[in-house]
Symmetry: C2
Subunit: 473 residues, 2 copies
Amino acid sequence: MPLNPADDAFAGTLAQHLPEDTLRRAEPRYLEEPRGRWQGSALWVALPRSTDEAAIIVRACNDASVAILPYAGGTGLVGGQITEDGPPPLLVSLERMNAVREVFPRENVLVAEAGAILAEVQAAALEHGRLFPLSLASEGTARIGGLLSTNAGGLNVLRYGNARDQVLGIEAVLPDGSILRGLKRLRKDNTGYDLRHLLIGAEGSLGLITAAALKLSPVPAGTGTAFFTVPGPSAALDLLALAREQIGEGISAFELISRTGLDFLTEAIPDQRQPFDTPPEWCVLIELGLAKGLDPAEALQTLFMEAFDRGIVEDGLVAQSEQQRQDFWAIRERIPEANRVIEAISSHDISVPLGLVPEFIDRGAPLLAAIGPYRINCFGHLGDGNLHYNVFPPKGGRREDHYDQREAIKRTVHDLVAELNGSVSAEHGVGRLKVDDLERYGDPAKLAAMRAIKAALDPKGIFNPGAVLRSVS
Amino acid sequence: MPLNPADDAFAGTLAQHLPEDTLRRAEPRYLEEPRGRWQGSALWVALPRSTDEAAIIVRACNDASVAILPYAGGTGLVGGQITEDGPPPLLVSLERMNAVREVFPRENVLVAEAGAILAEVQAAALEHGRLFPLSLASEGTARIGGLLSTNAGGLNVLRYGNARDQVLGIEAVLPDGSILRGLKRLRKDNTGYDLRHLLIGAEGSLGLITAAALKLSPVPAGTGTAFFTVPGPSAALDLLALAREQIGEGISAFELISRTGLDFLTEAIPDQRQPFDTPPEWCVLIELGLAKGLDPAEALQTLFMEAFDRGIVEDGLVAQSEQQRQDFWAIRERIPEANRVIEAISSHDISVPLGLVPEFIDRGAPLLAAIGPYRINCFGHLGDGNLHYNVFPPKGGRREDHYDQREAIKRTVHDLVAELNGSVSAEHGVGRLKVDDLERYGDPAKLAAMRAIKAALDPKGIFNPGAVLRSVS
């Protein structure tokens, strides 16, 4: 069944059923994305103020077979928020539904609308002495609806899980315009299929999330942060295992950084201070958040000493102040910035089973060297087995000169990931970028079930057509 | 489309495609359930030794339109494992697929077949110095497949989450006989819809889970257990909030027990020692599991003193030995046993938002008193907002004499739960017992989506027909 465009005629008719100024012409900011790989085609954006208005919009689109493109912070890296092909969709942005509706400190629950910005949700939780642990680079602009639709990961997954693990309930508009009233504040609810987890991570292809009941966690009483240099990725894993034995669940983040990453900082952002005089081949940034009665700096010291005795760390720096802690994190957080300056030929957001990370790193480098003299900046969330594995031209080279190898590079990396039973999209999602990869590497039974579910819940295929699954129309 | 029976002719044909002794006549143990409310009709049980054999069985059933009843430990309380109506189904038990396939200590992952018994999985994890935190009364017989299919809860949900939260990946046979190869050991994998969470909690109505990759947690360095008496449920919630402030994530269990529960123990199990000389109106059993460097007994002492100053606890006992700890837990764990002796008219497994637990308890008693002079044993997982709210005849009375009020009692309790935005099945599932309740209290949009998903994945309706959703054939 072909889709119809969300053109002026459609927008004009829909506008009659909604308060003034609910529909606007789509400004350029809705049609761009961070990496400049896609250019959106939407003509109109709908800006509902309530779930009921959102339902009116969805119902009208379904009746008219008009595509809907749910739009949140716009920071996604895989094109899930951009439609290039097919008739222009109606962009639906929940930026006006950005309230933290209620906080229930005694329940450790916060209810937010899907347009709420992550940093504001974090702040609202903190005001009540609670932690909303989801944290990532774009937290100042990313919105709850987008974070849930993409099941965002970030820096604290090791301890608190992914975005989906922070959610007790969701409210959503389903493709037929019905409202899923699942905003439960319950820790236990076994009444039927878990539609919450189906919509979370569906990248807007099964419905429009309008609000969520989110779990809050205790704020750790004390935080400690350190850089430890390690002989290599395998030692880093041993360090993580040792840290878990000594410290239990108190490890909040465990990030791997390679010499290439530190060199890239020097090259692209020379004013960024480095933690070590001589950049080590490998180091980890480790953060602890401990309960009352424990001293994080002391715990890091004890960890270092034992790890040093075992030969799995070589040098270490424990942050002595909040300023130094922020300086440490700046190293980690500015690596993507340096990457953007140097410009990768191909970037990969992959995960493998934790124990296979060293094998992946060991085998990846020579496979790529066989294609060309590339530089690999491999960094990221080692504690989750999730690496950002980005491939760059040789020093002084331009990425444009290597575009003919882009597909071969990607294929080499993803083939190795698949061989190791990993994921070619660990935290960024499938979007439009990885539809082919999903078809190539995905489990056929899973894909068939996904297509059946999509057809069952969205028979006209109006929700984010072409994202996650190839458009059938 | 009507289903066909798994009769001798069908079993004879299917047996030809499988190794000897894969099919057996169903012994009575497969046709009974703990509360004696249903009597199964299956004639044959299939006992596959591998996922491939399971797939052959499912495919044959799908081809012949024969119903499949996945069977695990058989301890479910809502009849999910029993088919009374319709043509006899083929019972499929994975009791021969009971291996812990592999343990990955460095990854904190354990891969188990669906027939593995929970206690054996716990033990395998402990052998590697890791904790598999799912824990419940039937852990000596419950199997992983059943625990996941019902998204079991239990004693440690407050800290570690429900069964679904312990799962990184699953392998399953889908209704068409295809094998979902989702046994990923990944913390992050955003490649398409989360079928794992759809099958978990589907109570065997969408496919047959054959294996799972399970998350392991650190074993807490020290455990502390205490009974605190509290003025009432609201004070118990204040105590929980205070404990979270002082102890953070270290609270493993927080169970509420009422005077009725303690009286029931005296009445039904007189040899069971009681913690307090005079049974308090309300008490909580609290357990901490703390990291190295913290003293749980000291933490409980500090908590008690601060709580006593605030008037939210009245008396307290901290276990001084492992034996005393086990004695404390015996109180909690023998309450269901006492309930079985005294015999409830109606039992309810409900949850409400944590902050509304006191309101639920306050309002429930007079509503039931208006129906009759019943005794209410309200106990359970307060930390999760999950109460087992069981209604008994007056002392000396027989439940049979009150059966005419059973429906009114259930309706009163469930109406109140629904009004408070709770769940009428917190941890036991829908099974056959609560299909009506799901239709009455469930969100219509959710039910419609569930039916669409069921029809899409299991178009012939062969998987556990009549469980969760009313059978359409």
